[in-house]
């Protein structure tokens, strides 16, 4: 992405055992039991009906939310031992939300650079990485456009660029193509799945669209808050 020599970034191994999450003092059960295992570099799609707990599962796996029960492991390390979820996310995870969640008064480039602002890095390098990534999404001409003035599809592409700017080892994408046209969706998936060189992040993708899910190495189905016990994973 830049002239800066970077170490090959292998995907992160992820394992979730017996995750459960409920809200409103247990009255609303979002996830009853989720068991999941992803090998480094594996791409897995989660499918399932609306409200089955997919987004909550992603929130737990990104450490935005703690599970009520169960445990998560990253490269074999228990997630509960991670002291700063923010720093861990910064180093390892890129998230694409169902709603793009861009900051409307920042430009496309500034939104993309947000994670890098938390890193000690020359501003010039941040900008260079941001521009390169936006160029790869055909958005060079929109670098200095405020997020509020971008189209829906452009916003989702910028959100993807923001998730990838750190070359994360794990990408969590929550219905990234849910609200974009097919051409934008195709571009987005290409950029999400196609990585050159040794960089191959682990990808967990939530989608309703079988065509999107088909891009993954494996599809798992979640229903009524239950993700069945892990099946045997194939190395990427």
């Amino acid at each position: 992405m830049s002239d800066r020599p970077s170490l090959p970034r292998a995907g992160l191994a992820l394992e979730a055992k017996g995750l459960a999450k409920a809200y409103e003092e247990g009255l609303v059960v979002a996830v009853r039991r989720a068991d999941l295992s992803l090998a480094p570099g594996e791409r897995v799609a989660i499918m399932g009906p609306t409200g089955c707990g997919k987004s909550t599962l992603l929130a737990m796996l990104s450490l935005l939310e703690a599970p009520d029960t169960g445990e998560i492991f990253f490269d074999g390390q228990p997630a509960r031992t991670i002291k700063s979820p923010e720093q861990w996310r910064l180093a390892n995870v890129g998230i694409v939300f169902q709603l793009h969640y861009l900051i409307p008064h920042l430009t496309a480039l500034e939104n993309v650079m947000l994670p890098l602002l938390a890193k000690d890095m020359p501003q010039k390098e941040r900008e260079e990485r941001g521009r390169t990534l936006l160029a790869s999404l055909n958005l060079s001409h929109r670098c200095h456009t405020l997020a509020a003035k971008l189209s829906g599809g452009e916003r989702q592409l910028v959100a993807l660029a923001r998730a990838l700017i750190n070359e994360p080892r794990l990408v969590l994408a929550d219905e990234p193509t849910g609200a974009v046209d097919s051409a934008t969706g195709a571009l987005l998936l290409d950029r999400l799945f196609d990585h050159s060189g040794a960089y191959r992040p682990t990808i967990l993708l939530v989608t309703h669209d079988p065509a999107v899910a088909a891009r993954a190495d494996r599809i798992v189905t979640m229903r009524d808050g239950v993700l069945p016990a892990p099946q045997k994973t194939s190395p990427a």
């Binding site: 987004s55 929130a59 720093q87 910064l90 900051i103 008064h105 602002l117 938390a118």
Partner: protein, 370 residues
């Protein structure tokens, strides 16, 4: 650099609102600035008066709370004339009186004195002569009351002929009138009473030593080197204390504005902070962003404060005609650095509550809400 850019963007996202917020803080800061300017001005009036009269020591009745009291006697002043180290005794009587169109007209009764005459710039006519029912008025008073040489000013039913208009650069005197001491004593029904006695000392005499010697010799008198005289007065201390209290309220207003502004801001921007947490911003970095916004708003407010203060004075000027000279007519810019520091402190203090709310944001919960 990058975080500063985000901060600037945050402030510019609704420029009109940012200006309105800064203006609100500026009003608080300007109120403080005006109040402190007023106290400084008030104290400076007395400080200038003593310089103008060229006195080394001021003598008054012991424990008198106000310079407006007439509590000394002529015979006490006479005794001081022969006190060791004293070269000249200048008797002084003054008070405020209701004249046409002015309820607080200051009249100063002075003895003829060459040094005093030299410090007054006569714009028209001459200074009054001892014993004659005549007066000279300061330039502001002349303008305000429409007086000039040859006019007659009726004071407590006593007609005084105006024989001169002067300007000395001291607003208390330029805003009032000067008459012979005996005339002023009669005007105020004070017989042989005096407000204060000003002493000029012989060359080499130490004002502190002479003041102490007078206090020992005459326990009923209080002698003070002019440098410390102003601090004796209860009114000045009272005004300073009063202004100090209102100043705190003014700063509290600025603090409340910052708090309200940031609270409002933050409620609408919780998804933004949740996103920042989600992309890896640690809490202290977000705290720095919010505190930076508060400080920037407070600083803009402090920048606006002198202008707002001048504007307020301009608006109040028509209401203040009688108080020209007593009430400050300008913002004291030397007080701006202190005002800015206090406003910044208020900005930071006002950011504490909103900040605690931001730091308690649960990103997943916020992002789950449509």
């Amino acid at each position: 650099m990058g975080v500063i850019r985000v901060l600037v963007r945050d402030l510019l996202r609704h420029p009109a609102l940012t200006v309105a917020y800064a203006f609100g803080i500026g009003v608080g800061a300007a109120t403080y600035l005006l109040l402190v300017s007023a106290t400084t001005h008030f104290s400076a009036q007395f400080a200038q008066a003593k310089k103008l009269l060229g006195a080394d020591v001021v003598v008054q009745r012991a424990r008198a709370s106000s310079p407006f009291m007439w509590q000394l006697r002529e015979q006490e002043a006479a005794k001081l004339a022969s006190f060791p180290g004293v070269q000249t005794v200048l008797r002084l009587g003054f008070g405020s009186v209701d004249v046409v169109g002015d309820r607080f007209f200051m009249f100063y009764g002075l003895e003829p004195d060459p040094m005093l005459s030299r410090s007054m710039r006569s714009l028209e006519g001459r200074m009054p002569v001892d014993g004659a029912p005549e007066a000279a008025v300061g330039i502001f008073a002349a303008e305000r009351l429409g007086l000039r040489v040859g006019s007659t000013l009726l004071v407590r039913d006593v007609p005084l002929r105006i024989v001169g208009v002067y300007q000395c650069g001291h607003s208390l005197l330029d805003n009032g009138g000067i008459a012979p001491l005996d005339v002023v004593q009669r005007l105020f029904d004070k017989g042989d009473q005096l407000s204060a006695v000003l002493l000029r000392l012989a060359p080499g005499a130490d004002p502190e030593a002479v003041a102490q010697a007078i206090a020992q010799a005459y326990p009923a008198l209080e002698a003070t080197p002019t440098e410390r005289w102003i601090s004796l007065y209860g009114q000045v201390r009272l005004v300073e204390s009063y202004v100090g209290t209102i100043g705190v309220i003014a700063i509290a207003v600025a603090l409340f504005v910052v708090l309200s502004v940031l609270q409002l801001n933050i409620v609408t921007r919780l998804p933004e902070f949740a996103i920042l947490r989600a992309v890896g911003w640690v809490r202290w970095r977000i705290a720095a962003l919010v505190a930076g916004e508060a400080l920037a708003l407070a600083f803009f407010g402090a920048l606006l404060a002198p202008g707002i203060g001048e504007w307020i004075l301009l608006l109040l000027r028509p209401l203040n005609r009688e108080a020209v000279g007593f009430v400050t007519d300008h913002v004291e810019l030397t007080l701006w650095p202190k005002t800015t520091l206090l406003t910044l402190a208020a900005g930071l203090a006002g950011a504490v509550l909103p900040l605690s709310r931001v730091l308690r944001v649960a990103p997943a919960q916020v992002l789950r809400t449509p």
